[in-house]
Subunit: 623 residues, 2 copies
C-alpha cells in the first residue's frame, strides 16, 4: 500500500480557500469531516471527500488543512492504516493518546490571530459546530460555513450521487407497519409537545418506512430525508424510485388514505428550503425535534427558540429494541451466516496448507458461501481478512499491494458479515491452521475470557453498556495487555452494522441503557503490532436474566449469542480458563452443533457438518 501523493491537491485546496469565487473571505483552515449530509458512518463514493484529499479511507477520521499544515485525526483502529495511506504532507493525530491535541486546541496553536476556519455546513453536525465554534471564538477565531464544498470544487472526477431502486419489507420482516411506526412517533411527539420531527439519518428514514436501498455500499439505505408533522408526512427523495409499483403500493401513494398518512414526495435537494419554510411558519409555542447530530445547515433552518434537540431521536431508540419478528429474523440470518462460515473454515483448513490462498481469495470465498444463502443481499461491511502482521491493523481490508498468503505458520483473522433480508450479521473468528505458539494461545485465551465475561454478564435493568466494557479487559489487564477499541456496538436489523444508541465502550458517550431486545456485538481483541491480531466477536441479544434474588424485582439482563460459529479450541490454553468459562465454551459449542448442524444437514452440506462436529468437541480439561 503506497501513500497517496497529495502535494498538488493540497495546493489546489489552499488556492480555493482564498478564492472569492467560493469564500466570502479567505479561510485560513478548512475542515473535512468524515461524514455526509446525513452524518453517516459509511458513505457513498461521491461523499468520500476526506479520503480524496488525504488518501486515508478508514471509516472514521477528520482532516484539517491550513495554509501550512495538513492533519488527520483518527482513532486506534486506524493508526497503522492511516500512517500507510497518507504521504508526508500529513500529520497523523492519534486520538485517545494522552498527548494528542484536540482539533480545536491544535487549530488554536497553529492559526494566526483572528483566523477564519471554514467547513461545509451540511456535513458538520450541529453539536460539533457548536463545540468547535465556541472553542475557536474564545481564542479569537471564527468558524464559518462555506456553502460550496471546497473539496468538490477541486474533485474533477467526483462520481455521481447514487440513486438505486428500493426494496420494500413486509410485516413478516418488520413486525410493525410504517403507519404504526408513524403513529407511535406522533405519540412521542405529543408527549414532548413537538409539532414537527425532522429525520436526517438514512437508517432512520429506511426503518420508519420499512424500505431499504443500496445507495451506500454495505448499508441498505437510500438518500432521503423525512419531515413528519402531526398531520403531514414529507419524504424527500430523488429519481424515479417512486415510480416503482411495489414502492407505490407499499407506501399506499395511490390509495385513498386517512389524510394524516398521506405521503408527500418532495425532491431530495429541496429539504433546506422546505425546512426554512417550516421554520418561518411556526407559532410561538411550537417545537421542532431534531437530532443534535443533524447538520448545522438544517439545524439553523429552525430558529433557535423552536428547536428541540436530543442526542438520540425516538426512532433511533425504537429501532434499537428489536421486536419478535426482527429478533426471529436475526436468528435465522445468523444460522445461515454460520453455515457459510463453517463452509469457509472447512475449505480454508483444506486449502491453506497448499499455499495458494491469499487474504483476498479467502474474503471472496466467504462472500461466495454467504451469497448461496437465502435472502442474501450484500456484505454488511468490507471483509477484514488478515493474516500475520496484517491482523494487527484493526480495520484492515486486503488490497493487492498488501495481500498476504495464508499459511500454517500465522494466525488468520476473519471479521465479516452480511446483509440478509431478515437480518444483519457481523462475526470475527481467529484461526490457526498449524500449531499456535504458547504466547499466541495465551493472548487468545485472555481475549476469550473477556468475551465470555461480557457474554455471561448479568446486570440490573437500567445498566448502560459502558459499565460492562472493563469486564472484557480484566483478564488482559492482569497480564499487562489491552486493546485500543471499544468492546461492542449496536447492530441493525437488515440495516447498518453499526447503530446507536447503545454500545459497550470505555469511551464515555451518551449511551442509552441496555434493554431486552437490543442487539450489540461483543468483540474484545488483542493486537501485537508487526506480528498478529486476535479478535473474537459474536453478535448478542439482550435478554432478561434469571437470578437468585432478582434485584428486588428491578429485574436483570444478560446476553444470548446470536452468532453460532465455533471458537477454535486449538487456540485455547485450557489451563487459563476457570471451570465456569470451560462450561461456557462447551455449552456454546453444543448449541452451535445442534442449531447450525441441523441447518447444514438440511442444506446437505455434509463435509462442513463433519467439520462443525469436530470443532465443537468439548474441551479437554487437564484437571
Amino acid at each position: 500500500m503506497s501513500p497517496k501523493i497529495t502535494t498538488e491537491l493540497l495546493k489546489q485546496l489552499r488556492q480555493v480557500m482564498k478564492s472569492p469565487k467560493y469564500v466570502q473571505e479567505p479561510v485560513q483552515a478548512y475542515i473535512v469531516p468524515s461524514g455526509d449530509a446525513h452524518q453517516s458512518e459509511y458513505i457513498a463514493p461521491c461523499d468520500c471527500r476526506r479520503a480524496f484529499i488525504s488518501g486515508f479511507d478508514g471509516s472514521a477520521g477528520t482532516a484539517i488543512v491550513t495554509d501550512q499544515h495538513a492533519a488527520m485525526w483518527t482513532d486506534g483502529r486506524y493508526f497503522l492504516q492511516a500512517a500507510h495511506q497518507m504521504d508526508n504532507n500529513w500529520t497523523l493525530m492519534k486520538m485517545g493518546l494522552k498527548d494528542t491535541p484536540t482539533q480545536e486546541d491544535w487549530l488554536v496553536s497553529v492559526l494566526p490571530e483572528g483566523s477564519k476556519v471554514g467547513v461545509d455546513p451540511f456535513i458538520i453536525p450541529a453539536d460539533q459546530w457548536k463545540r468547535m465554534s465556541k472553542a475557536l471564538r474564545s481564542a479569537g477565531h471564527d468558524l464559518v460555513p462555506v456553502k460550496e464544498n471546497l473539496i468538490d470544487t477541486i474533485w474533477t472526477d467526483c462520481p455521481q450521487r447514487p440513486c438505486k431502486p428500493l426494496i420494500t419489507l413486509d410485516l413478516s420482516y418488520t413486525g410493525v407497519s410504517w403507519k404504526d411506526k408513524i403513529a407511535a412517533l406522533r405519540s412521542k411527539m405529543a408527549e414532548r409537545k413537538v409539532v414537527w420531527f425532522v429525520i436526517t439519518a438514512l437508517d432512520e428514514v429506511a426503518w420508519l418506512f420499512n424500505l431499504r436501498g443500496s445507495d451506500v455500499e454495505y448499508n441498505p439505505v437510500f438518500f432521503a430525508y423525512a419531515v413528519i408533522g402531526m398531520n403531514t408526512i414529507r419524504l424527500f427523495i430523488d429519481g424515479d424510485r417512486m415510480m416503482d409499483p411495489a414502492v407505490r403500493e407499499h407506501l399506499q401513494l395511490d390509495s385513498t388514505l386517512e389524510p394524516e398518512f398521506k405521503i408527500q414526495v418532495v425532491p431530495y435537494g429541496s429539504v433546506l428550503s422546505e425546512l426554512q419554510a417550516v421554520g418561518a411558519g411556526l407559532s410561538p409555542k411550537d417545537k421542532v425535534w431534531l437530532s443534535d447530530k443533524a447538520s448545522y445547515a438544517l439545524t439553523e433552518a429552525i430558529p433557535k427558540a423552536y428547536r428541540y434537540l436530543t442526542p438520540y431521536t425516538p426512532i433511533c431508540i425504537a429501532k434499537a429494541v428489536k421486536n419478535a419478528s426482527e429478533t426471529e429474523g436475526m436468528r435465522r440470518a445468523h444460522i445461515k451466516d454460520a453455515v457459510a462460515l463453517c463452509e469457509v473454515f472447512h475449505w480454508l483448513e483444506k486449502e491453506v496448507p497448499k499455499g495458494t490462498v491469499t487474504e483476498i481469495i479467502a474474503a471472496d470465498k466467504a462472500e461466495e458461501f454467504r451469497s448461496q444463502q437465502k435472502d442474501f443481499v450484500e456484505l454488511s461491511f468490507a471483509t477484514i481478512s488478515s493474516t500475520g502482521p496484517n491482523g494487527a491493523i484493526i480495520h484492515y481490508k486486503p488490497v493487492p499491494e498488501t495481500n498476504r498468503t495464508l499459511s500454517v505458520n500465522e494466525i488468520y483473522l476473519l471479521d465479516s458479515g452480511a446483509q440478509y433480508k431478515d437480518g444483519t450479521t457481523d462475526v470475527t473468528r481467529t484461526m490457526h491452521f498449524g500449531t499456535p505458539s504458547a504466547y499466541e494461545k495465551e493472548c487468545f485465551t485472555y481475549v476469550l475470557k473477556g468475551h465470555i465475561a461480557v457474554s455471561a454478564a448479568i446486570f440490573p435493568n437500567g445498566t448502560k453498556g459502558h459499565l460492562l466494557d472493563s469486564f472484557a479487559r480484566s483478564a488482559l489487564w492482569d497480564c499487562g495487555l489491552d486493546y485500543l477499541h471499544g468492546t461492542g456496538h449496536g447492530v441493525g436489523s437488515f440495516l447498518n452494522v453499526h447503530e446507536g444508541p447503545c454500545g459497550i465502550s470505555y469511551k464515555t458517550f451518551a449511551d442509552e441503557p441496555l434493554e431486552a431486545g437490543m442487539i450489540v456485538s461483543d468483540e474484545p481483541g488483542y493486537y501485537e503490532d508487526g506480528s498478529f491480531g486476535i479478535r473474537i466477536e459474536n453478535v448478542v441479544l439482550v435478554i432478561p436474566a434469571e437470578t437468585k434474588y432478582n434485584f428486588k424485582n428491578r429485574g436483570s439482563l444478560t446476553f444470548e449469542p446470536l452468532t453460532l460459529v465455533p471458537i477454535q479450541t486449538k487456540m485455547i490454553d485450557v489451563n487459563l480458563l476457570t471451570q465456569k468459562e470451560c462450561n461456557w465454551v462447551d455449552d456454546y459449542h453444543q448449541k452451535c452443533r445442534e442449531v447450525v448442524g441441523a441447518e447444514l444437514e438440511r442444506q446437505g452440506r455434509h463435509e462442513a457438518l463433519q467439520w462443525l462436529i469436530r470443532e465443537t468437541e468439548p474441551l479437554l480439561r487437564t484437571q
Copy 2:
C-alpha cells in the same frame, strides 16, 4: 426520628417569595441547594438552609418550593433517611431511579406559564445555573438570582458564621511549601495564558497555603477565597486569625519577600466587589480561570469573554496526587486508626453480649480510642454506627430517637474516620458478635469479592476510575443483588474525606484518570431494607503495578490498601471465594498483623493485640 413539621415555615417562605422587600418580582418557585457559597459538601450550621426548611439533613439534596409543592431530590444513600425526616408537605424525588423527573422537568410540569424561579446566586454553581436556566428558558420560564437568601430572611435563630483559629502545617506534613505551590500554579496559568486564578473551594485554599481550620465540622477548612495573579496573591479571610504570630510567620506576612509572594489579606465579604474590579480591569486577551462549579455570582463578576472555566482546577488535580510526605503521613494515620479500631472491636466483642452497648455508645467509644492517638484532630465525618435495620440506611447517624442496642443477633456496621495532622481516614467494617445467618454470610462474601476485585484490579495508565466500578458489583449482580451508591471517592490528606477529581462510580462524571499517588476509597456494600447493611471499606493508594507484559511500556496501576483493619472472617463463606481471593484475604490479614501488631505492641495495648492476632488467622479452606 420524627419528621420536622414545616407547614408554618413553608407558609413564611411562600410569603417572602412574593415580598417586594426581597424579590424584584414574585417568584413562583425557590430553589434551596445543599451547598454553601464555596459549593462545599459539608457545610457550617449557618449554611444548613435546606435542612432548616425541610428537616432532611443528609449531605446531599436539593429542595424546591413552589406555591403549591415542596420537593426534595436526593440519592440512594438517603432515600430512607429523607423519608423519615420530612413531613407530608414534602415529596421525595429519588434520584437515579428511572421514573424520577429531573428538577428542570419537574419545574416545567408544575409551574404556571411564564414563571420566575429564584435561587441565591452565591449558592448555585455556575454550571448548574447554566443548565437549569437553559431548560427553564426553553419552556418559557426564567431563572432569576435573588440576592438576599430567602431562607435566611425567615431563619430567625440562624447561627453565626464560624471563624476559628488556623493550624499551620510545616514541610514535614505537606512536602511542598505554599510558595512552591503558588509558583507551580503560576506556571500552569502561564501554559493556559491565564492572568488571574480564582479559588473558591475551601479545601483548595487550605491546601494551597498549607493551612487548616475548623470552621466546618469534620473538614479542616476555613472560610476564605483566594485570587492569584502572576504577581499578586489576595487572601479573602475574616477575623483576627491573621493576628496569630504562627500564621503570620507561616505566611511571611511581616517578612521582606519577593513582591510576587507578598500576600494581601482582604476581608472575606469583599470578594465580589474585588472580583468585579478585576473583571473591569482586564485587557482584551486576558483570561480568568475559575472552576465551572464556582458560584454563579462570582462567575458573573468576570465578563463572559474573559472566563476560562474548567471542571477541575489545577489545584484540585495537584492536591489529589499525594507526594511522598503526604503518602507517608497517610500511612501513619491509617496505622494509628487501625490501633484505635482494634481496641473498639475488641471492646465491643466483650461488651455487646452484656446488652448495654448502643449505637451511640459504640460511636463514642470509637472516637475515644481515636482521640488517644498522636496528632488526632477530630473525626472526618459523622460516625455511622448502625445495627440491624439501621444498617440499611446508608448514611445513618445514630440519634437518641433511633439509637439501637447492639446484640449478638444483628449485624453491626461501623463506618468511621478521623482527621489526624498527618492524614485523613475512612474505614467501614461489618461485624457480627454472634452467629451470622447463611444469607448474611452469602451477602457479605459477595461484597467482599467486589471489594477485592477493585483492590486487586490492574489497569493501564490513563484509566478512569468509573471503569472499575462494575468490578465491585459483578459478584452481587450474578445473584441479583446491587447497591445504590458509588464504589469509591477521593480522600484528602488531612483535608476533606470526599474530594475530587477522581472516584469509582457507575455515575458518568468528568473524573480525571487515576494516577499513582491518588488516594480513593473502595467501599462496595449491600443493604437489605428493614434488616441489615453490609459495607467493606478500605482507603487505597494508587501505585504502579507490575505485569507480565507491561502494556508495551504504557505502564499500569493497581491499589495498595492503606486501611489495615481485619475483615471479620466469621462473616465469610469461604466456599464462595476463589483461591486467589482467599490468598488476598490471608495476605491482607498478614500485613495487618505485622504492621498494626507492631504499633499495638509499641503502645502496650496487649489485649487488642491478642484480638488482632486472632482476627488475622488464615482462612480455613474447605478444599
